[in-house]
């Protein structure tokens, strides 16, 4: 089959006509007859005992149909929220998170009661009338203090605050002794809000007569929601239909798990006999939806005088929040990727998860991989600075160059050309010229900085052998291809698109594989009532490398059957049938031909070969043999004003390699958007809690700087192309690349700019006040 007419083509998105015209279908756009609005009463405190709850006034308020608390839910929800093994199979302490507080609240924003009312404003009004008396308890806010002996605990009666502690590989002092220079540094990864522009929201509609639940929810993982929420609420999976969206307004990892409100709304619908809608407000979102990052890394890096990297010791401390995130331990992957794109004699790593009285941390775009990139790219620059070597040179000297490359933890990088992407990025940036400008500028009190990030990532989750023990379920991916009698095709996928453009790219894959017109393919996702029995969702840049391959597999099964039927109709042997661009002909007789549509029609008719059933459809699950390993080289150019601490991000160059590209326009869009989030972390965003009171100080978007168009620099994008040997499409994944790469490039540039002051490291966000203070201190 020698056609690639659609794969690789810049096709404009089929999602867009509805979205640009105001006809998207987000959860809040929907209403159901008899629907009630749910408002969640939340704890205003980080840690407190609930002394009493008085519901009388709320229940008497206009439009209120019901007010529920723990007492109403306790017999209707089994257990609590799940916590996956991820990269930490054995955890020390996993506090059970029941979806609503009983007698103790452990983070600001924890649900305490829910109000159901006829109108949205009535529910909000009545929620104000729920009177809860609290006795405040000491709040555990700082992870270093939380690890000290005798620290107050985040949960009453807990032995300590240690959620997990795991050494992946111990330090090897003998190897470190081989280093001529050793540098230690503490690198902070501040807490971040994911901020999908659409907050979470849902409509739960339980039919008490048919005993069926339909749950529309803004989620990345409808099948997992069905599995976890449905079964915990006493329903068989077959009784539950979850529809993610249909449109979901961004997620970035913050919608890839079940949440308390989903359980509460389902039971509220059951108890009240009404459909129940809950739409998260933004201020609510900042406490009720998981946060990202929130980590401290202590690193020690050793190298030879000639720049040869020797050993790296890493300890990761993660602020887990009050409950371990459902996939919170995924972030420990930073420990396994700490070596980055380089050859090391030894990498030691250890992760410690610490419970605090805050919102849970869970994956946020990149999840562990931005942290790994940041620490290793900073480590390499620290060594380069120490021995007086150019940051580009030290990278070249230590890059992995032979593939497959097995890193120090046994992970196998499938393919790469790290020198290729770095060379290209430096050329586009005009690196040598920039260095000259920098030297010249410094003579005149101007502080230009050039930062590199030669990033790698693990994605395409993942082989069942690796993910089943980690996630508790194999993260393969499913699809179903149904060819209708007239030859048009519906493709159902287990992934979920919330900005990734799957409707377009997946249709491109199916069109090419089946050789049918792109327009004849309908792409469906997000509804558990359709398609294969199980879907695995979209996260970890997995959708094309795993889901796309599943589509290809299903299409090939269809082609295979169609070929048999064509042979029968054309009275030839199957071996003599050639399938080319949607047509089946007999080898050597191009006039003996049947179009795909004709075969489709025939497949539902009479006179099939003996033993062949009617129909032309197929289901596939794709289990990849390995992860995929995208990579690239980014260059950030900044100028720091030493008098104000202001950072002017002048230019950003990104050369990325995600293997074969299905649609270059969409790939570029993903990269740019990802870079923007990395820049946001590097320069602007930080979740701040008050350590004494436990209150969230960045509690609205007024206090949290999500960058606008004004903050984004000029970006120049290019790519190299190193196909993945892991799958037949040769694809890797690109959804998180920009975010994984960018913070390191920007911070390396900032440090480079202020290095004349003797500053060796700058933490994030590199805000004017932080830099101004550092420069002032350095000057004194």
């Amino acid at each position: 089959m020698a056609i690639t007419t659609m794969i690789g083509a810049k096709i404009h998105r089929r999602e867009d006509p509805r979205l640009v015209s105001g006809h998207g279908r987000y959860v809040d756009d929907m209403t159901r007859p008899g629907m009630l609005h749910m408002n969640v009463v939340r704890s205003p405190y980080a840690h407190a005992k609930i002394r009493s709850i008085d519901l009388a006034a709320a229940k008497a308020a206009p439009g209120v149909q019901a007010v529920y608390t723990y007492a109403d839910f306790k017999d209707h929800i089994a257990g609590g929220l799940p916590v996956s093994n991820s990269f930490v199979a054995e955890k020390k302490q996993v506090p059970n998170q029941f979806p609503i507080a009983h007698d103790e609240v452990v983070y600001q924003g924890e649900p305490v009661a829910v109000v159901l009312a006829e109108e949205r404003y009535q529910a909000a009004d009545a929620a104000q009338l729920v009177e809860v008396e609290y006795d405040q308890l000491p709040a555990v806010m700082n992870i270093e203090k939380a690890m000290e002996k005798g620290s107050p605990t985040a949960h009453i009666g807990a032995p300590d605050n240690i959620g997990w502690e795991l050494t992946y590989a111990p330090e090897n002092p003998d190897v470190m002794k081989e280093a001529d220079v050793v540098v230690k540094e503490r690198i902070l990864q501040q807490r971040l809000f994911p901020i999908a522009m659409e907050g979470r929201g849902l409509v739960a509609d339980y039919d008490n007569y048919d005993k069926r639940l339909t749950l529309w929810t803004s989620s990345q993982v409808p099948h997992f929601i069905r599995l976890f929420v449905g079964t915990a609420c006493g329903l068989a999976e077959s009784q539950v239909r979850v529809i993610a969206g249909p449109d979901v307004g961004g997620a970035f990892g913050s919608k890839l798990r079940p949440y308390p409100e989903e359980y509460l709304a389902v039971v509220s619908s059951k108890l009240s006999g009404h459909p129940v809608k809950w739409i998260e407000g933004r201020t609510e979102n900042l406490v009720a939806t998981t946060h990202g990052r929130g980590q401290i890394f202590d690193i020690e890096v050793g190298a030879k005088k000639d720049g040869t990297l020797v050993a790296l010791n890493v300890t990761q401390y993660i602020d887990l929040g009050a409950y371990q995130g459902v996939f919170g331990a995924f972030q420990a992957v930073a420990c396994l990727l700490a070596g980055g794109a380089y050859r090391w004699k030894h990498v030691a790593s250890r992760t410690v998860g610490v419970l605090t009285n805050k919102t849970s941390t869970d994956p946020y775009r990149g999840a562990g991989r931005p942290e790994a990139t940041h620490l290793v790219e900073r480590a390499v620059d620290l060594i380069a600075d120490k021995i007086g070597m150019d940051p580009a040179e030290i990278r070249r000297k230590n890059f992995a160059t032979e593939f497959p490359f097995t890193n120090n933890f046994g992970l196998v990088y499938d393919s790469g050309d790290y020198n290729g992407s770095l060379d290209k990025a430096l050329k586009i940036a005009g690196y040598d010229q920039l260095r000259r400008e920098q030297a010249e500028g410094r003579k005149h009190g101007r502080y230009l900085g050039i930062g590199l990030s030669t990033w790698i990532e693990i994605c395409g989750l993942g082989p069942s052998a690796a993910t089943a023990p980690a996630a508790g379920v194999a993260l393969v991916e499913s699809s179903q291809v149904r060819v209708l009698p007239t030859g048009s095709v519906t493709v159902y996928v287990g992934t979920h698109s919330h900005g990734q453009s799957h409707d377009t790219t997946f249709a491109q894959i199916a069109a090419d594989t089946l050789g049918v017109p792109y327009e004849s393919i309908e792409l469906r996702h997000g509804d558990t009532a359709e398609g294969p029995a199980m879907g695995y969702g979209t996260y970890g840049s997995r959708s094309v490398a795993v889901g796309g391959m599943s589509i290809r597999k299903s299409c090939l099964k269809v082609v295979d059957k169609a070929k048999k039927l064509a042979a029968h109709i054309l009275e030839a042997s199957e071996e003599d049938i050639v399938f080319d661009q949607g047509r089946f002909h007999v080898k050597g007789s191009p006039d003996k031909v049947k179009a795909f549509g004709e075969i489709a029609f025939a497949s539902y008719g009479a006179g099939l070969p003996e033993g062949m059933e009617q129909g032309l459809e197929a289901v596939s699950y794709f289990d990849p043999p390995n992860f995929t390993w995208p990579f690239g080289a980014h260059v950030a150019v900044v100028e720091v004003d030493p008098d104000t601490g202001g950072v002017d991000l002048r230019k950003y160059i990104a050369v990325d390699d995600c293997g074969n590209v299905i649609n270059p326009m969409i790939v570029e869009g993903q990269i740019v958007g990802g870079i923007a989030q990395g820049i946001a972390q590097a320069l602007y965003e930080e979740v701040v809690y008050d350590d004494d009171s436990g209150q969230l100080r960045t509690g609205t978007l007024t206090d949290y700087l999500v960058p606008t168009a004004n903050e984004m620099p000029e970006m120049v994008l290019d790519n190299t192309l190193t196909p993945s040997p892991t799958n037949e499409l040769g694809v890797k994944g690109i959804g998180e690349a920009g975010t994984i790469a960018a913070s390191a490039a920007v911070i390396n540039a900032v440090v480079d700019a202020v290095s004349p002051f003797g500053i060796k490291h700058v933490d994030m966000p590199a805000s004017p006040d932080r830099l101004w203070k550092m420069i002032k201190e350095a000057r004194n």
């Binding site: 640009v20 015209s21 105001g22 809040d28 522009m197 933004r282 326009m665 869009g669 606008t708 004004n710």
Partner: protein, 172 residues
């Protein structure tokens, strides 16, 4: 106590009795069924709810419905005409100026106002003109391109001012 509010939205007249505290954005979405105008925050930062009120870009979460009495409003649903996308909508499509699409209606309405008042903006003017709107997916690069493309297709400085204003507001 409810108040009568009469508005013209996308050329159609509506009359409703509303609570005085009802936000205009909720009026549009819940009473008029115009759900293309989105809500992305509760502190007027994100601009997802941007519409035009008498031709001026307004975050509809910052107005009460009663304040729209007698006003002419344009929302995203009124931009396309006779099955043809407005040039700004077309440009967002052509330039891949959206991913999840949630912020897009607000950006398109803000861009409509920008181009009505400044038909041929520089890149800096576009970025400043859109600084009241947040997007988390695109990094803004393609949004800026889309507005540049729309400015070109709408005729830039060459088009008569009246015509441009009419296009921006969706008026005749």
């Amino acid at each position: 106590m409810k108040h009568k509010v009469a508005t013209t939205v996308n050329g159609r007249r509506y009359e409703h009795e509303v609570e005085p505290r009802l936000l205009l954005v909720h009026h549009l979405r819940d009473n008029l069924g115009l759900t293309g105008t989105h809500i992305g925050c509760d502190t007027s930062q994100c601009g997802a709810c941007t519409i035009l009120v008498d031709g001026m870009a307004v975050k509809s979460c910052t107005m009460f419905a009663v304040q729209a009495e007698g006003r002419s409003l344009a929302t995203i649903e009124g931009m396309a005409r006779d099955g043809e996308l407005h040039p700004i909508q077309q440009a967002f499509w052509d330039e891949h100026g959206l991913q999840c699409g949630y912020c897009t209606p607000g950006f398109i309405m803000a861009a409509a106002y920008l181009l009505a008042t400044n038909p041929n903006p520089t890149e800096d003017e576009i970025r400043k003109g859109l600084e009241g709107n947040l997007c988390r997916c695109t990094g803004y690069v393609n949004i800026v391109k889309a507005v540049q493309t729309a400015a070109r297709t709408m005729g830039g400085a060459k088009a008569p001012a009246e015509k441009k204003a009419a296009m921006a507001t969706g008026g005749e």
